[in-house]
């Protein structure tokens, strides 16, 4: 939540939980029929959404709860529940003003679901394989989608216009947009079955930095010895962190040269 008072978590234990950040006390427990894949607060912090997986005969649903209405929590009754029959949602974020949720699907589709009516406001089919992660820019005007099709793409949040593409040779597991520079960072890996063939390479899994406007890679940071599953910039843009399959979270602070670096234009 924007004032860092509460935390919302979703888990494969078929529940979504609301916590008090300072005390760690569980404030609400919402049972689901299948694993919770993604969740988040809207801009105001009053509405929460989460998606459930297509599992054990249950479809994928995108559920909305208004926290100002305790009845919804007590009865475990979302005010809006959108079914996704075809391809399950694999990642989702709220739009800039809480009007819609931007969801990425198993087949590479990205949809805007209205948080009021549940209808699909806009669609985008740019990726060819599963969306692994969606992260917004700090002002929520754009977002970056990381996909198994070896690319990450930059979109405008409201229009869903496809703005930029960043190409690699490995599936991208996660991507983030710098809050202060025209940079994006991407982390990835390879198919689980191929991990053993490259596992002899210590410290060779890299976080890759691309220039957001030129779509060119300008730097890599080595260190993980397993595929990178998650990347994030610090809100002040002076550091970033990455979490990997190897069980480590790495935090890197940028050298002064990083901020001065420019590609010739």
């Amino acid at each position: 939540m924007w004032d860092t008072k509460n935390v919302l978590t979703g888990s494969a234990d078929n529940s979504c939980r609301l916590w008090d950040c300072e005390t760690g006390k569980q404030l609400a427990l919402l049972h689901t029929n299948s694993a919770v894949r993604t969740c988040g607060f809207d801009f105001s912090g009053n509405i929460i959404m989460f998606s459930t997986d297509k599992q054990m005969g249950y479809q994928c649903y995108l559920n909305f709860f208004d926290l100002r209405d305790p009845q919804q929590i007590d009865d475990n009754q979302p005010y809006l529940s959108i079914p996704c029959s075809d391809y399950k949602i694999t990642s989702a974020v709220w739009g800039p003003l809480g009007e819609f949720v931007i969801a990425g699907h198993e087949n590479g589709e990205i949809n805007q679901f209205s948080a009021k009516s549940g209808e699909i406001l806009k669609k985008a089919k740019e990726h060819t394989k599963q969306i692994n992660d969606i992260q917004t820019s700090v002002d929520l005007t754009m977002f970056i989608s990381a996909s198994k099709d070896n690319t990450a793409k930059l979109f405008d949040s409201t229009s869903l216009d496809h703005i930029k593409t960043f190409k690699t040779e490995r599936p991208v597991n996660s991507a983030a947009i710098s809050p202060i520079m025209d940079h994006v960072v991407m982390g990835g890996g390879q198919e689980a079955m191929e991990v053993t063939t490259t596992s002899t390479r210590i410290g060779k899994f890299e976080a890759r930095f691309f220039h957001a406007a030129y779509e060119e890679e300008f730097g890599r940071v080595k260190g993980h010895f397993g595929p990178i599953n998650c990347v994030a910039f610090h809100p002040d843009g002076k550091s970033y962190s990455s979490g990997g399959e190897d069980g480590y979270v790495r935090i890197h602070y940028f050298d002064p040269q990083y901020f001065d670096f420019e590609l010739e234009a």
Partner: protein
């Protein structure tokens, strides 16, 4: 001229024979016919078991019995002779006989083995199946001129050599074999020349002078060439799996494990490329050591080794040289000199005769050098590319020891009587390679992880000098530049693609690099570029080929979806004379200037293109961001409302968010005895920071004075810039 006359070699007896040739019926005097009829009818017609033997001595009745015994002795080896007939005329045998065997297979054996049998100086048997006569007799007497084939013009077959920037081509197979492309090599990026789906079903091969590209298909191979890579020729050989070209590009040899029958050996076929004709077929037991037929450098001869035999054939007749193979008991391996028509072969120890390496001149078969070797376990022959030197790697077990040591026996081919020098190697050999056009060789020896690279120079004064040894190398293969002097030592596959670029003129390591999991290294024909690649056939990820200069400077990384194989297109030998080359080398400075200018222009053009492209992209992006930010500003009121009036647009928007915190860092402990007092003077650094972390104020707490010093350092946090020191002093440096 009767076609039958072509079967026999032109001896006087043959001419006599041809003249007396008569229609079939006279071959069957009634006695023979009765005999045949008396036999029980077999599955196959009896005629299939009859052979005709020609060039039999013509004898009178007194020697007939002896002749029959001799014939019987020779021909009963192949089966049971059921009937024999010796036609006579004027009291002498006619010179040809008929033998009938118990089964057609035996007749075939007789033809296969006795045809060409030399009875004595004047009589070499010619053996044929009787049924063959029928076949040949039915050839019409009328000679029909074959239809004239229209001339197929494929254009300039050397078109690629005329590229104005002298770019070399290379073939690339990718998408796991689905696509094959031909690129022109430019230092900036590859230029696509041709790209086709399913051009080949397995892999491709270039001909030795680069004229043809061979592709493989279930039904045979196809050759492509010319400016547009049109199909030049097609050779039908069902299930073909291996091919080999003659060095002159006149012939191609194809191998298919499927096509092999006793009557018509088709496992190996030799084709004439220009006419597309099948020249000869051969039987083949195993393709383990392809190519089975080794060509002499000028394409005049090709040879193969079978048990205890070396068979040398000549072109264009495709017949055995001197009509017989060489019997070399125990022959283990042979190879042609790449510069002359000399064959080197070796035989192992035999009882009390030591192992030996022999150099034999062709076609004279004169032994120009024989070298005895003792206690030999194995030998390998390595020719220098011009045939100037032969290195025989000899693995021996010296008397009284258990281990195996290796010697290199260096044969100096250009010196009188071919002197041999020996280099003893103390460690096991991993790789050996001659400098292609020079007199140096490189050796990788030792055992992982202690692998050493040694460079030797074969000098004119009879000495072989060790120039340099590099130890602890990550290498298992040696790749010399085709022009000599430079080379790459590579640790392929299990050694994870370690690369070392070496200049052997002074044996320096120019550059050490790595292409992780590289499986292949290929030099271009000019020796200017090297390609390292990770093939999908050996590693399923990161399939790409990288282009380097000969000095080890990385120029390009080309990722290709499921990249499999890259092969440079060979160049034909230069048309320049030695003098012309000398002239060009003399004027090299003049030419370099022109080329460098050209390169600079194209480089700046490239960077200008890139810069323009980037500028355009940035403008577009800025425009987009401006519009987005405008909308964002317009929505500010909505945001404020959603968060109950709290402005969260910037990290420091909300002043109430500022907090002061005190953090202690323990820096140092110093024990300084001051008279009787033992004070620990600890210095503590206290930091005061705001939650917005804009300024970090460090104060040093001095315990001896038990008070804070005035502020000592003040950093502006974002840039780490030191703003001021205590007592208002401006800092001198930033850190």
């Amino acid at each position: 001229q009767s076609p039958i006359g072509q079967i026999y070699s032109p001896t006087n007896e043959v001419n006599t024979y041809v003249k007396t040739f008569s229609p079939v019926s006279s071959f069957f005097p009634s006695e023979l016919l009765d005999d045949i009829l008396r036999e029980k009818p077999q599955e196959a017609d009896g005629i299939d078991s009859v052979v005709v033997v020609d060039n039999v001595p013509q004898v009178g009745p007194e020697r007939l019995e002896k002749l029959k015994n001799v014939i019987h002795k020779i021909f009963s080896k192949f089966g049971k002779i059921t009937t024999e007939f010796y036609p006579e005329a004027d009291g002498m045998t006619k010179g040809y006989i008929f033998l009938e065997y118990a089964a057609p297979t035996q007749a075939l054996e007789a033809v296969k083995n006795a045809d060409g049998y030399k009875l004595d100086k004047q009589h070499t048997f010619r053996v044929n199946l009787f049924t063959d006569f029928d076949k040949y007799m039915n050839i019409s007497d009328e000679w029909e001129t074959p239809e004239k084939q229209p001339f197929k013009d494929f254009g300039n077959m050397r078109h690629w050599i005329e590229d104005s920037d002298c770019r070399d081509q290379y073939s690339v197979i990718y998408e796991a074999g689905e696509r094959t492309a031909i690129f022109s090599n430019d230092a900036k990026e590859p230029i696509t020349v041709e790209e086709r789906a399913r051009w080949t079903e397995t892999y491709v091969r270039w001909s030795p002078k680069g004229t043809y590209l061979a592709t493989f298909h279930q039904r045979g191979i196809a050759l492509w060439g010319g400016e547009k890579f049109k199909q030049i020729q097609r050779f039908s050989h069902q299930g073909v799996s291996l091919i080999d070209f003659s060095p002159c590009e006149r012939y191609v040899v194809t191998f298919s494990p499927l096509m092999d029958t006793k009557e018509d050996p088709q496992a190996i076929i030799i084709w004439d490329i220009l006419t597309g004709q099948k020249k000869r077929g051969f039987h083949c037991e195993s393709s383990a050591h392809w190519p089975i037929f080794k060509w002499s450098h000028d394409g005049k001869f090709f040879a193969r080794m079978t048990q205890d035999t070396l068979s040398i054939y000549e072109t264009p007749s495709m017949g055995l040289l001197d009509k017989k193979s060489l019997k070399i008991s125990g022959i283990k391996d042979f190879s042609w000199s790449p510069g002359d028509n000399i064959i080197a072969f070796w035989v192992p120890e035999d009882k009390d005769i030591p192992a030996r390496v022999t150099l034999m001149q062709m076609p004279s078969r004169q032994e120009i050098r024989v070298r005895n070797l003792f206690n030999v376990v194995d030998c390998k022959l390595h020719w220098q590319r011009n045939g100037d030197y032969l290195c025989v790697k000899v693995d021996r077990t010296p008397k009284g020891t258990q281990g195996v040591v290796t010697n290199f026996e260096i044969f100096r081919m250009r010196e009188k009587q071919v002197p041999v020098d020996v280099v003893e190697m103390k460690e096991s050999i991993i790789a050996f390679a001659w400098e292609p056009n020079g007199s140096k060789f490189a050796v990788l020896h030792g055992e992982s992880p202690r692998i050493n690279a040694s460079f030797y120079h074969v000098k004119n004064n009879g000495k072989i000098e060790l120039i340099k040894m590099f130890d602890k190398q990550q290498a298992n293969s040696i790749f010399w530049s085709p022009q000599g002097q430079f080379m790459v030592l590579a640790g392929l596959r299990s050694m994870n693609g370690a690369l070392a670029f070496v200049d052997t003129s002074d044996c320096t390591m120019m550059y050490i690099a790595e292409h992780y999991m590289a499986s292949d290294v290929e030099w271009d024909p000019t020796g200017r570029y090297v390609v390292t690649s990770v093939s999908w056939w050996s590693h399923k990820v990161d399939n790409a080929y990288w282009l380097w200069t000969f000095q080890g400077r990385l120029l390009q990384k080309n990722n290709k979806d499921r990249f499999c194989q890259l092969l440079w297109r060979p160049r034909p030998p230069t048309l320049l004379s030695v003098d012309q080359i000398k002239m060009i080398k003399k004027d090299l400075k003049k030419y370099s200037k022109i080329f460098e200018q050209k390169d600079r222009l194209s480089q700046s053009k490239a960077s200008k293109e890139l810069v323009d492209k980037r500028r355009a992209m940035m403008e577009d992006y800025r425009r987009y961001r401006e519009t987005a930010l405008q909308i964002y500003q317009e929505q500010k009121s909505v945001r404020l409302e959603l968060r109950g009036g709290v402005d969260t647009d910037e990290l420091d928007s909300n002043v109430d968010d500022w907090e002061e915190e005190t953090i202690e860092f323990f820096i140092n402990e110093e024990i300084i005895p001051i008279g009787d007092l033992h004070h620990n003077r600890k210095t503590k650094l206290l930091a005061r920071a705001t939650t917005v972390y804009k300024y970090l104020i460090l104060q040093v707490y001095l315990t001896c004075s038990l008070s804070f010093s005035p502020p000592v350092f003040v950093w502006k946090e974002e840039r780490g810039a030191l703003l001021l020191t205590g007592e208002g002093r401006q800092p001198r440096c930033e850190s």
